[in-house]
Amino acid sequence: MSAQLERRKAVQTDEVAGYERMLEIREFENQINGLFAAGLIRGTTHLCLGQEALDIAIAAELRPSDTVMATYRGHGVALALGLTPESVLGEIMGKTNGCCGGVGGSMHLADMSVGLLPTSAIVGGGIPIAAGAALAYQLLGQDNVGVAIFGDGATNIGAFHEGLNLAAIWNLPAIFICDNNVYGEYSRIDKTTPLEDLHMRAESYKMPHYAVDGMDVAATRKGIKEAVDRARSGGGPTLIEAKTYRFAGHSRADKALYRPEGELEKWQERDPIKLTEEGLVKRGLLDAAKIEKMRADMTKTIEGVVATCQAAPSPTVASMFENVFTS
């Protein structure tokens, strides 16, 4: 079994492994922040700090043969689905060990072996594509599902509307997961959108819809499971709104000074890692010592990954001429 599939299996079968993966994502994103600040990574990046529960829930409830179409804010979901930290960081650093050989970058992570299509840097662009994956499954008689993950801001773009309507009318095995992290870039969602509960927009397509507590792995898993079961059994698509919060700024340079005072702190009280930790401790699956060790190990692991990726070779100039066409 490939490293990716093993990593995937872990979060599907073991809650502690799921917790550990959340730590990994957190540590990974923090490292990225530092690497950018140090000028060791170029371009831009969009961190998912605070949204780890959603990523884990998705990875846990889907099969590797299901397809996920995510966005530029994709490090967390890639790691959760099973990509190794090395292949994600390598890609972000533009190295040959990256999941796309370094030609994609932070906004374009992919690994079809665990169902991750190249993430899209176009807001809403992935929504019809996920519906299309579901369409292929319907045509081929496979019981996989096609999943789109997108932000709150993306519910204002035409592709959202068209993708959902199409999935509804064709009864596609698709799941639309709106990661409502309260902001689209620097704009609070209530400034651009007259509706608070974004999942209500599914009413326009007579599609089942609901919100889940996106800070709580179990609650999010439950919501996703319901949709997955419906989709696999021919019941059609679902729109799920995961209520989360973006702990960092929109992208690299953003200090998020536009946030109302106290908002971040309020959400941090429900930090998904803290919540998960508390739950596992309560159930006796973790204790303080284990947690401390896991955290320390993870820091070391990710530091090791950083070192590996820094040492990894850049792609050759010849490689950028490959893979334009199939033939």
Partner: protein, 335 residues
């Protein structure tokens, strides 16, 4: 060999591909029950059923995007865009998603989708429904672009496009749908291969779409020994066939339906010039429509695209003077 209408050649190509490959599917606005606004899917719903042949909502972004996803996951979708202009609401999915998927997956996935769209002027559809718009696609590495010109190319290249592992856009000159032509189902014609429609020794004409027939008539009318090439695939175009012909004739004219500015013809002229400068007997040039929207009124639309008379005039002129002929609107002092 069988004679059939251009639109029937498309129907045949779709049906033959659907018969030989169960993953081929077709969707678009009114392609199923109504059998296509231009009757290019006649009989397909009946033969292949509603899972493979589907009507869509009016949502070009939605269903073109769905084709991208379906293509990646094992289907071979053909989407019909009724008029090429409608991709203006969905270009993103073709140019920014489909064309880059293979590159962004480091070669791990393919997007074997086909976008078919009717195009072109001549039928009184007005300025929002009469363009060819090749320029929207020509600077998109990862995407192939075909312009059909007769029943034969319709049949052969539609099949080739469906079999192709990469995204392909096919432009179908609307004015040809009812036109009959011979189709040899076994003919080999690949994407990227130009067609020498008529040999000639004195000048090479590169054309495509509905202009190919206009050029044929113009050659007859002019009496010039012109080698007529149907470019057929606009991207990637057949440099070898074109440059070999220009080497032989020493002269080149491109005849295009689109406005002068921004057309693919400039690519041919620029490439041939850079490559064959010393061997040219005259300046390569273009015959195109003027830089105006497509006008509605019959007498205007008829003049809008190059006419056989005007192509003939320019052929004769370049042969006798060696100079680049003026456009008809320059001659008439217009603009």
């Amino acid at each position: 060999m069988a004679a059939m209408q251009f639109r029937q050649a498309i129907v045949n190509a779709l049906a033959d591909e659907m018969r030989s490959d169960p993953t081929v599917m077709l969707f678009g606005e009114d392609v199923a029950e109504a059998e296509g606004p231009f009757k290019t899917s006649e009989g397909l719903l009946t033969e292949f059923g509603p899972v493979r042949v589907r009507d869509t909502p009016i949502s070009e972004m939605g269903f073109t995007g769905a084709a991208v996803g379906a293509a990646i996951l094992g289907a071979k979708p053909v989407v019909e865009i009724m008029f090429i202009e409608f991709l203006g609401v969905a270009l993103d999915q073709v140019v920014t998603e489909a064309a880059k998927m293979r590159y962004l997956s480091n070669g791990k996935l393919s997007v074997p989708m086909v976008v078919r769209a009717s195009c072109g002027s001549g039928l009184g559809f007005g300025s929002q429904h009469s363009q060819t718009l090749e320029n929207w696609f020509t600077a998109t590495p990862g995407l192939k672009l075909i312009m059909l010109s007769d029943a034969q190319s319709a049949y052969t290249l539609t099949r080739a496009a469906i079999q192709d592992p990469d995204p392909v856009v096919i432009l179908e000159p609307r004015i040809l749908y009812a036109k009959r032509g011979e189709v040899d189902k076994d003919l080999k014609l690949k994407i990227g291969q130009a067609r020498i429609m008529q040999p000639g020794s004195d000048i090479t004409i590169v054309s495509s779409g509905q202009m190919v027939d206009v050029c044929k008539e113009a050659i007859a009318e002019s009496g010039v020994s012109a080698e007529l090439i149907d470019l057929a695939t606009i991207v990637p175009w057949d440099r070898k066939t074109v440059l070999d012909s220009v080497k032989k004739t020493g002269r080149l004219v491109v005849v295009e339906e689109a406005p002068l500015s921004g057309g693919w013809g400039s690519e041919i002229v620029a490439t041939a010039t850079s490559a064959l400068f010393g061997e040219l007997k005259a300046a390569p040039f273009r015959i195109t429509a003027p830089d105006i929207p497509v006008p509605y009124s019959g007498p205007l639309e008829t003049r809008y695209i190059p006419t056989k008379e005007d192509v003939a005039r320019q052929l004769k002129e370049v042969m006798t003077t060696g100079k680049t002929p003026k456009t008809w609107w320059e001659m008439e002092g217009l603009k």
